[in-house]
Amino acid sequence: MDFFHAHQAQHYLVLAALLFALGAAGVVLRRNAIIILMSIELMLNAVNLTFLAFARFPLVPNSPMGSFLHGHTAVFFVIATAAAEAAVGLAIIIAVFRSRTTVHVDEFDSLRF
């Protein structure tokens, strides 16, 4: 058991899995729309961590795509998409709050206002 010695990909991947599980649990358990959005950000960050872990510790010695930095570019795109998603999601929360005066997702049970 190299739990305390090695500095290896497994550590980062397990951390990413824990972070993703935590974010997924937040999405499922919480009823506040803002906290659900924040949990989604947690899950996106877990995916970023996985990309970077595989970029530093790849499974094969030669990248089939020519460079091992494609993981970094993927993280770049994920960050940009997450920023856009947060902006639109928060705008939707504001719009719903204006008509329902709540951010409790159990109240959002009809498609028309």
């Binding site: 305390f4 090695a6 500095h7 290896q8 990909a9 497994q10 550590h11 980062y12 991947l13 397990v14 951390l15 899995a17 824990l18 972070l19 599980a21 935590l22 937040g26 358990l29 919480r30 506040n32 803002i34 906290i35 924040m38 949990s39 950000e41 947690l42 961590l49 970077l52 872990a53 970029a55 530093r56 510790f57 790849p58 499974l59 795509m65 020519g66 460079s67 091992f68 930095l69 970094h72 570019t73 993280v75 770049f76 795109f77 960050i79 998409t81 920023a83 856009a84 998603e85 947060a86 902006a87 639109v88 928060l90 705008a91 504001i94 719009a95 204006r98 951010v103 409790h104 159990d106």
Partner: protein, 171 residues
């Protein structure tokens, strides 16, 4: 040294993220999430990704979380409007079981993927090429994925317009 830093940062990430999920008031969750993003930036530095670490601090901890805090303060939720059911024992037990189960499952499943021999470490192999730096990542970005990069700018433009249209209500 790296291992110690990793465990410190990992504990920080998981502790702050747990605050996000467990806290009743979203403002505490938002501030904890900023802390979690800073710890994650430290983890990215350990993974020799300095550019991504800086982007994480600037975009996530800077821009996105400011947006979250701004919206939380704009909505100004009262205590009774939080509308969160109380935590029960079984909810907590399920949360712990799912997270611990995921961790153990992934740890066990990754054992065969990385058998005994020392893993390939790109930070060591490519030490002279500026692995993870601005120049190297920029070259990969602009040589291999120019089109997605430009489409991303379009995506951000669409998101800005959509956010304004949705939040403004009446144009």
């Amino acid at each position: 040294m790296e291992a110690i830093l990793f465990y410190v940062f990992a504990a920080g990430v998981l502790g702050a993220s747990a605050q996000v999920v467990l806290r009743r008031n979203p403002i505490y969750g938002a501030v904890s999430l900023v802390g979690a993003f800073f710890f994650l930036a430290g983890i990215y530095l350990l993974l020799s990704a300095p550019l991504i670490a800086i982007l994480q601090v600037m975009i996530y901890a800077g821009a996105v979380m400011v947006l979250f805090v701004f919206v939380i303060m704009l909505l100004n939720l009262k205590e009774e409007e939080l509308g969160e059911p109380k935590w029960t024992f079984w909810k907590g037990a399920g949360l712990v079981a799912v997270i611990a189960g995921t961790g153990i499952l992934v740890w066990k499943a990754l054992g065969p993927a990385y058998p005994g021999a020392p893993a390939i470490d790109n930070a060591v192999r490519m030490a002279g090429t500026g692995f993870g730096g601005v120049k190297a990542v920029g070259r990969t970005l602009y040589l291999a994925s120019v089109l997605p990069f430009e489409v991303t700018s379009l995506l951000l433009l669409v998101a800005i317009v959509a956010a304004v249209v949705v939040a403004k209500g009446k144009i």
